[in-house]
Symmetry: C2
Subunit: 499 residues, 2 copies
């Protein structure tokens, strides 16, 4: 992997002085074009051997370009699985993705922990493999979303590192740059390089290859890295071609022969009278309240997803849940069309932001499933985007679950007849009028298309870790109680699993 | 304070049923107008006795209006001074201020901790007083910035609370709503009410008075709170009148009789040759690096502010500092004109966001001083806005300091002649061309106005906790070394202070 980066590439001072001004000018121009076009973001990963010029290169990039449009981030090692209060490992990287038109420079990024851990514990091959797979999927999603990933690896031989440290130590003015940790890392050099080599091999994909740079000569290293960056910026000024649907993709399944859908075949005749409702509601709210305080769930969080046709009763059901919760521990996120900042990011970005810490609950009133529902049906995204979304969503929910979240998803199922009744009632009540728009009527006309999308969604995303609960909701009272009951059961199962 | 809220206000069920629909409709309309106008934000504080309907009212507001444009936040008690990793106490409230056009509902807000602490430790009167003063200043700033503050206090007598808890406990369906903590709080009822009464008295200002609501009858309470909210929303649809300059304000001081300014009278003839520069730079960087790792500064953060005329060398000086830092522990924030999200918030909001945690450094390349420099000179804000900014800035820096930040401010002083040389050099160098714009030449023409603004700024904001360091910068080499030296001295003083 690193052979060609150990042959001692150099560039003489004069050549550097000649090359640098033109490169700077080209970088600046490309950066402004990238910003002006606003099509794509450029994410630069800076990794490699300590002392091979990682920090210097990041500083140089900031010096060469306009730093106002660059976000440079460095992350400390994540102390075990306890960091970020129970958010998934990738959470902190999602927080710093640059918006379209901007450049993000990340060091101490998603490769650092897996590589270092594997170097320390080379026996845990399965874990290493799994984390690299997760990274591949994440980077695949980024490039599919149009992000340009520039992955720079700065290399230096073991002798090179040793000589550098000795030279720095000898000069009293630079001796402070060498710490005991540097010498200790040198001891682990070969384990680190072996682990790195495997990581690079497994994650050098066609869309996001690793570029290995010989770090021993600053002039050579700087100009080489700058040229890679320039190419990435120039690529970024063009709109991202819509990722084609893979030609290996299975053909879309045709509609079922008998024309029936999952939602058609569902029993909608569940009802509850008000007196029973009141009794059961209070009891279930009490049960929920107690469960949320169970010591077994101290390192868990709760992610609730509510989906359903317009007027299915999502909002009023959510209120019956929050009545049993401590206001300091939950947040309701109503999801509408993405705003400008959200459109400048990969699709899932706006949901990642809200992932709760341990002992907290987030309730999504509509969710990331918009991608395979409204965006699919209305053509708000490309076909390839919603087809790959099922995978991305499953991976997203898996990461949440692994970090301790309990993901509970409800589809509130109503019949077209009941929806019509509710639309008409809304139009007759002044303070409910705002809830009904021409869009709602238009969506209603597309009921069969939505029903089809719901079938696919449930087939493809009802997983063992995050199953869908389909709840008959023509009777609001029955629906609310049923949702509470299902939620309590999921929490109880989680308590017993821990106990 | 609470007498009139203990007379047992009620509203019968029928009157409620009559009043509610019209109120809801009016609230919705007012909410949409507020959003459409986008002039002002409405912040609703919900405080009061536990059990008097705080949570229910917040839920009701969310049910009555469109929850997509409401941000509801509840805060847990702040565990001592260790929370938020060393950010000032107000930091977490700044994070959730609603943008213009939106409604924020905050409970467990900035009143909660001071009131509860004072109830527990009534002897520490000075601390209580100081925190209330801080709140007054903060709310004053909010209302000056056009935010509408609706402060609702829900009251209930001690007997009322006791009867409510007993009734809930008696019914097995609602018994879960009562916890041992509720009974414990009842024991401290009178201490809490005394502390609250004092807080309300001290913070009921003309612009942001407290409204006390009898919480014992849900119908009465809800309609009353709703009417207060309606009035606030309706007020918010009008543009905020620019806060008038107080008629008590001292007249602006005339320019000094001899026409000289602080910057005129400064010695610019400091220089350094490159060899000395190299030696001193390395040594100072080493000293800085060591200081930043001093155990005495474990609970401190570092806030660096760089200001200066265009081309004073801010960027290149900052790079000499960051070269000595660990990339995981600092961030450079270049400050330009505010973006849309920033314009929708009080002026200082965008700076509060960046305040660093302990052991971290934030470096502002331009800063909140823009208010009293470019915004004052160019007329980007009203006169009253920059006149009150000095106070707001001093309070801001004081809060940072109290939370453990070391605030170090540099003015890089260059002469007009040196600036001209640098402008011309920039225009002759392709990769520096982007750094010079027509604005820069225009600003240069206003040099005397800027010099005057700098004089006022330094006179009014060079405080004992956050003094300005004016550094002669016509010689870049001398300037960089001097900045590093001053920074090291400030850090050393902080170390000795702790040791």
């Amino acid at each position: 992997m690193f052979e060609s980066a150990e042959i001692g590439h150099t560039m003489d001072r004069k050549a550097y002085k000649n090359a640098e001004p033109a490169l700077r000018e080209a970088l600046l121009q490309a950066q402004f074009k990238l910003l002006e076009a606003g099509h794509r973001a450029v994410v630069v990963l800076i990794n490699g051997v300590d002392g091979a010029g990682k920090g210097e290169t990041a500083n140089l990039f900031n010096e060469w370009m306009d730093p106002r449009h660059i976000r440079t981030e460095a992350f400390a090692a994540r102390p075990g699985d306890q960091a970020d209060n129970g958010r998934p490992a990738m959470w902190r990287f999602w927080q710093v993705l640059p918006p379209k038109g901007h450049v993000g420079i990340l060091f101490g990024n998603w490769y650092t922990d897996p590589i270092v851990q594997h170097a320390m514990e080379p026996d845990k091959k399965g874990r290493f493999q799994a984390r690299l797979e997760e990274i591949r999927a994440f980077e695949r999603m980024l490039t599919d979303e149009g992000v340009i990933l520039l992955k720079l690896w700065f290399h230096m031989s073991r002798d090179g590192v040793r000589n550098r440290l000795k030279a720095l130590e000898k000069d009293p003015k630079t001796a402070w740059r060498v710490t005991p940790a540097d010498w200790e890392r040198l001891e682990h050099y070969s384990a680190f390089v072996q682990s790195s080599s495997k990581a690079l091999r497994k994650t050098s994909t066609g869309d996001a290859p690793w570029l290995v740079i010989d770090g021993s000569d600053p002039a050579y290293r700087s100009i080489t890295a700058g040229q890679h960056l320039l190419a990435a910026l120039q690529l970024g000024t063009q709109p991202a071609a819509d990722a084609p649907t893979s030609h290996h993709a299975a053909p879309q399944a045709p509609p079922p022969l008998d024309g029936r859908s999952l939602l058609d075949s569902f029993d909608y005749h569940r009802t509850l009278v008000r007196k029973d409702y009141r009794d059961q509601l209070e009891l279930l709210q009490g049960r929920l309240n107690g469960l949320l305080r169970a010591p077994e769930l101290k390192k868990r969080s709760l992610v609730l997803v509510f989906e359903g046709m317009d007027a299915a009763g999502k909002g009023s059901t959510i209120r019956r849940i929050t009545q049993a919760m401590d206001a300091r521990h939950y947040r309701v996120v109503p999801v509408a069309a993405p705003n400008e900042a959200e459109r400048a990011q990969p699709y899932l970005w706006r949901f990642w932001r809200y992932l709760p810490r341990w002992q907290h609950t987030i309730i999504f009133d509509r969710s990331w499933y918009g991608r395979v529902l409204v965006e699919r049906v209305e053509g708000f995204c490309s076909e390839s985007a919603w087809i790959r979304a099922y995978d991305e969503i499953n991976a997203f929910e898996e990461q949440q679950t692994e970090a301790g979240a309990l993901v509970v998803k409800f589809w509130l199922a109503i019949t077209p007849e009941e929806q019509l009744k509710r639309f008409e009632a809304r139009q007759a009540t002044p303070h409910k009028l705002y809830k009904i728009t021409p869009d709602d009527w238009r969506n209603r006309d597309k009921w069969p298309l939505y029903a089809r999308a719901v079938d696919d969604m449930i087939d493809r995303t009802s997983t063992d870790i995050a199953p869908w609960h389909i709840v008959a909701s023509d009777c609001k009272l029955w629906s609310r109680v049923e949702v509470l009951r299902l939620l309590c059961e999921r929490l109880e199962a989680a308590v017993q699993h821990r106990a």
